[in-house]
Symmetry: C2
Subunit: 135 residues, 2 copies
DNA sequence: CCGTATCCATTAAGATACTG
DNA sequence: CAGTATCTTAATGGATACGG
């Protein structure tokens, strides 16, 4: 009853750690926040202005999540009005090179990807035109 | 009127290429499919079985997307019943090392992340308990 | 200043049934 | 076999109002 997962096909990636890649990285806002915090400790308001189109809700939600995962540290300074600062933990910092490298890849290949998209769309349009042509 | 984006604060990451990281990598299924195709050309059904809990809809949708981006190639063999094969393009293959490295990072730090989560939840629970305690 | 809570619109995803 | 079409449900995100 407990090891149902063992019944999966040998070829499966279900239990594979690949899935873990996504838990953190697949969050759009999380990556952006990490990139901003790379430049140093930031306050809540600074983060909000840095990531222009993030809503308060998503900012708070993502910050909590990153804090929970131990990637950032949240410190409340005993002042009035309150000052809250966010900093990357060593673990958070250690992730940055990998994100940077991914980013490099994307910058390098982005033109090629855009071209591939154009080509694909042109082919699809051509097919669509041909199929309605005979009607 | 056109360069509204120029009015953004200098610190903003809005127009930053960081955002591109996410277009491809933030797709859970896309990454899994790429990892499966790394092992070689696969047919539609093989992919479906490999990624046990993917729905037909998501599989097809993600395959189309990856094909459109030029990361995989789709070839239909002229047979009955139809045989459709998917292969990584050179561009798709070139992405793998970066995904692998991210994966290594995650495997290395996953225990630490889980511990951080436990600690965080324990702290939160403690706070919650204290706040209801006085009632 | 730094949030939380609530409501609402949009989108993503899953289940199911059917086709060339 | 390899999909498409449709329907329903779940998740995401934004706007607004209020609280410590």
């Amino acid at each position: 009853m407990e090891n149902i997962r063992a019944a999966e096909p040998a070829f499966s990636v279900t239990s594979c750690t690949a899935r873990r890649v996504l838990e953190i990285v697949s969050n759009k806002w999380a990556v952006l926040i990490i990139f901003v915090l790379e430049k140093g400790t930031k306050r809540y308001g600074q983060l909000q202005r840095s990531i222009a189109d993030i809503s308060q809700k998503m900012l708070t939600q993502t910050l909590r999540q990153l804090e929970r995962d131990g990637l950032i540290e949240r410190s409340v300074l005993p002042e009035v009005p309150p000052v809250v600062e966010y900093t990357l933990t060593p673990m958070g910092e250690s992730l940055i090179p990998y994100l940077r490298q991914l980013n490099h890849w994307l910058n390098e290949y982005y033109p090629q990807i855009e071209q591939a998209r154009k080509d694909y769309d042109a082919r699809e349009k051509f097919k669509a035109d041909k199929s309605t042509q005979t009607v």
